[in-house]
């Protein structure tokens, strides 16, 4: 296994050695499960190990896996919290700025007493309160074209929860370039989209949406219950990818409308002319 020193901290980055253009079924097989579970971990995760196709093997795979989440706000905070609760080995987190009162309706890793202080510190503190075994690589910046490569390099799976399209496209570009699966979670008001992108196998974000809406604004209407719902579902997609259970949303976009409780699964396809992944792997 390659050891890469991450420039974002003293922690080591140990991504699984995922070959380029890896098939989704191969991804399950190459996820390592060589770190054994401690008695404390068995006691903590016993109830989820009762999930028949997950079991102890799935738990070991989670322990050996690393997931990048950015940003770590309403959606990403729920993703990170659920993955920490589930026993993920390492989280790679990027989120800039200081906590504000308007964060608190949805960003459950922020607390009232932390207003005015760096969000990333609150995120680390809250996650380690829940799971002190968790390894965290934390960056007090948002993802951009300059830092995306190094961040994605530190993880096995990316979960995209960013509120701006340039951040999303930067993560998508690097996930494709480094052949890392990416769970795409996005919401607006009471609606949300989730899909799982596997380079070479499924559309990438730029295949589905080659352009960003010109009128998209950083501030958007949101209930925490909506962003939390999306985040929990995104975390489950990451768990399924890592442990090789269930059917991830590959090639499918789940459209959720919590106003009507209508859930629709829509087929999405690669574009041969995609500027990001158009020449990679086979076209579905």
């Amino acid at each position: 296994m390659d050891i890469i020193v991450c420039r974002f901290g003293e922690e080591r980055c140990q991504p699984a050695s995922i070959p380029s253009r890896v098939a989704i079924t191969e991804f399950y097989r190459i996820m390592p499960d060589d770190l054994p579970l401690t008695d404390d971990e068995v006691a903590t995760y016993q109830w989820q190990m009762w999930v028949s196709d997950f079991g102890e093997r799935g738990q070991k795979m989670l322990k050996n896996a690393s997931v990048m989440v950015s940003r770590v706000g309403g959606v990403g905070g729920a993703v990170a919290y659920q993955l920490a609760a589930a026993g993920i080995g390492k989280l790679v987190l990027a989120h800039a700025g200081n906590a504000k009162p308007s964060d608190l309706n949805r960003q459950l890793l922020m607390t009232h007493d932390w207003i005015g202080k760096p969000r990333i510190e609150s995120i680390k503190r809250r996650l380690l309160d829940l799971n002190p075994r968790l390894e965290i690589v934390a960056l007090a910046e948002n993802v951009n074209r300059e830092n995306a490569a190094a961040l994605v390099e530190c993880c096995d799976v990316v979960v995209d929860c960013a509120p701006l399209f340039p951040e999303r496209y930067a993560m998508n570009f690097e996930a494709v370039r480094q052949s890392k699966p990416m769970v795409e979670c996005a919401m607006y008001e009471l609606e949300a989209h989730i899909t799982t992108l596997v380079p070479g196998q499924t559309p990438c974000l730029a295949c589905i949406f080659p352009e960003a809406p010109p009128t998209w604004k950083r501030q958007f209407p949101v209930f925490g219950a909506v962003s939390g719902t999306v985040g929990c579902m995104g975390a489950m997609e990451a768990i399924k990818l890592i442990a090789g259970i269930g059917e991830p949303l590959t090639g499918r976009l789940l459209r959720i409308d919590l106003r009507t409780m209508a859930f629709r699964t829509l087929k999405v396809r690669r574009r041969d002319d995609c500027v990001v992944c158009g020449c990679q792997g086979s076209t579905e």
Binding site: R71, G73, G74, V75, G76, D160, C161, A162, P163, L164, F165, R168, C185, A186, M187, Y188, E189, L190, E191, A192, H193, I208, F209, P210, E211, A212, P213, T215, W216, F220, P221, V222, S227, L253, R255, R259, T260, R264, T265, L266, K267, V268, R269
Partner: protein, 95 residues
Amino acid sequence: MNLPPSIAVVIPSIFSRFVGGQNMIALSAATVGDAIAALVETNPEMRSQLHDSEGRLLRYLQLFVNDDNINDLSGLETRLNDGDELLLIAALAGG
């Protein structure tokens, strides 16, 4: 003479302010292209949300008839049937 099929256009909330707060609009149209034209005719503010200056659909949109992407059907020429739903799916980035 047969009337065009009655369909429903499902409007994402990101567009609801351009259509008087509606999240579903009933209209009659023979094809997806006709449905989009009817939607824009009755809700002119939607024009700039759906089309560029040359009248092409903007690329942050995907259109589905029921659960099928129109790119897998006949694009804007896709024929509609009574009771069909036309979904407008716009890129979102709330996180």
